[in-house]
Amino acid sequence: MNLNATFVAQMLVFFILGWFTMKFIWPPLMKALDERAKKIADGLAAAEKGNAALKDALVRFQKLEAEARIRAQEIVSQNEKRGLEIVEGAKAAAKAEGDRLIAAAKAEIESEMQRAKDALRSQVALLAVAGAEKILRREVNAQVHADLLAQLQQELR
């Protein structure tokens, strides 16, 4: 409990230690702490920005996706329509071709028939004339009855 000069020395030490801490210890520590706080704050801000960008990208992506889907649907339906049109066209063309072929065949048949008829007619007329010639050989003069035969031929046509 004795007081002596020690307390004066102790007081000086007190101030020297305080001064030393203020000069050499506190500032670098505070600087490190502040810098780290800033780093963390920056990191958090960057993360938030990244999150926002991601959300934006997602929205944009969804919009693009929806548009693409609609476009794809359009293209598919267009193609279906075009396919249908092509098929219809092909059908019509085929039908027309068929009709044409049938008509040609019919015409052929008709002309063939006509030709056969003509040949037959002339042959029948000849046969009739030959028959009649045989029957009428003697009595009938071919010269006399030629216009009669021509008339018959006319009637058979």
Binding site: V13, P27, A32, K39
Partner: protein, 277 residues
């Protein structure tokens, strides 16, 4: 040991442990020609360790991921800084006051912690190394010496006066000494001044006495516990072990608590110096 002829009795043992290593024996209760070498040595040593450790950490401090030790120091710094911010409302003053509070806290903690060394260890070491021929006495705990605590509290007192004058200017400070807390009436001046003087003295003395009393009592108790072991009986040995361990564990709390209280009161007193009545 005090005398080589016979083992010291209990009162000689305690007296020996409570005697300072000083420049000359102190006759009066206040004698400014005496210096306690042990108090000065150990407080300087602890102050040096505190500053050196903090300085090393501060030099290597990075803003990146801190190491464990840096993180521990940073926690302390943040704690002190938060307290300083809450108590001292002047950023300019805090540039000095906050670092001071940090150092005071760690310095007092280390000085108090010297109490946990076995009370006879330093003397034994001096005896083994032959240093005891001129280091006859050694009180290792600087905060168990009133000079140690009073020196620090006087430092706080000087800071109180300094900041009072700095913030309120000399005229304002003197005006406050005479006019607060009772009021600006001529017949109240003596009472105001008296109360203010008592307040300053009480703050300074109680700051010193609180720390000194706690550490002195702790030191004395360790000595008494050591006396149990000195009985050289099984009972004394057992009690030395049990009581010594119990008191040492409890003393950890006192060491940190007293250091924290001293730091907080330093901040509070300096903070009050910034505020007008």
């Amino acid at each position: 040991m005090a005398s080589p002829e016979h083992a010291p009795n209990a009162s000689e043992y305690i007296t020996h442990h409570l005697t300072h290593l000083n420049t000359k024996a102190q006759g009066f209760i206040v004698d400014m020609s005496v210096l306690n070498i042990d108090t000065l040595f150990w407080s300087l040593a602890m102050g040096f360790i505190t500053c050196f450790v903090l300085w090393r950490v501060a030099q290597r401090a990075t803003a990146g991921v801190p190491g464990r030790f840096q993180a521990a120091i940073e926690m302390l710094v943040e704690m002190v800084n938060d307290q300083a911010k809450a108590i001292v409302h002047s950023a300019e003053s805090r540039l000095f006051v906050a670092p001071l509070a940090l150092t005071v806290f760690l310095w007092i903690t280390l000085m108090n912690a010297l109490d946990l060394l076995p009370v006879d260890l330093p003397h034994k070491i001096f005896a083994w190394t032959g240093l005891d021929s001129f280091i006859r006495y050694n009180r290792i705990v600087p905060t168990a010496d009133l000079n140690g605590t009073f020196g620090m509290s006087l430092g706080v007192f000087v800071l109180m006066i300094y900041y009072n004058i700095k913030i309120k200017h000399l005229g304002g400070f003197i005006h406050e000494l005479f006019c607060a807390p009772f009021g600006n009436k001529i017949w109240l001046y003596p009472f105001n001044l008296l109360l203010n003087l008592i307040e300053f003295i009480a703050k300074t003395v109680s700051l010193a006495m609180r720390l000194f009393g706690n550490m002195y009592a702790g030191e004395l108790l360790f000595m008494l516990i050591a006396l149990l072991g000195a009985t050289a009986t099984w009972w004394g040995f057992g009690m030395h072990l049990v009581a010594g361990a119990a008191w040492a564990i409890f003393h950890i709390l006192i060491i940190l608590l007293q250091a924290f209280i001293f730091m907080m009161l330093t901040l509070v007193y300096i903070g009050q110096a910034h505020e007008g009545h």
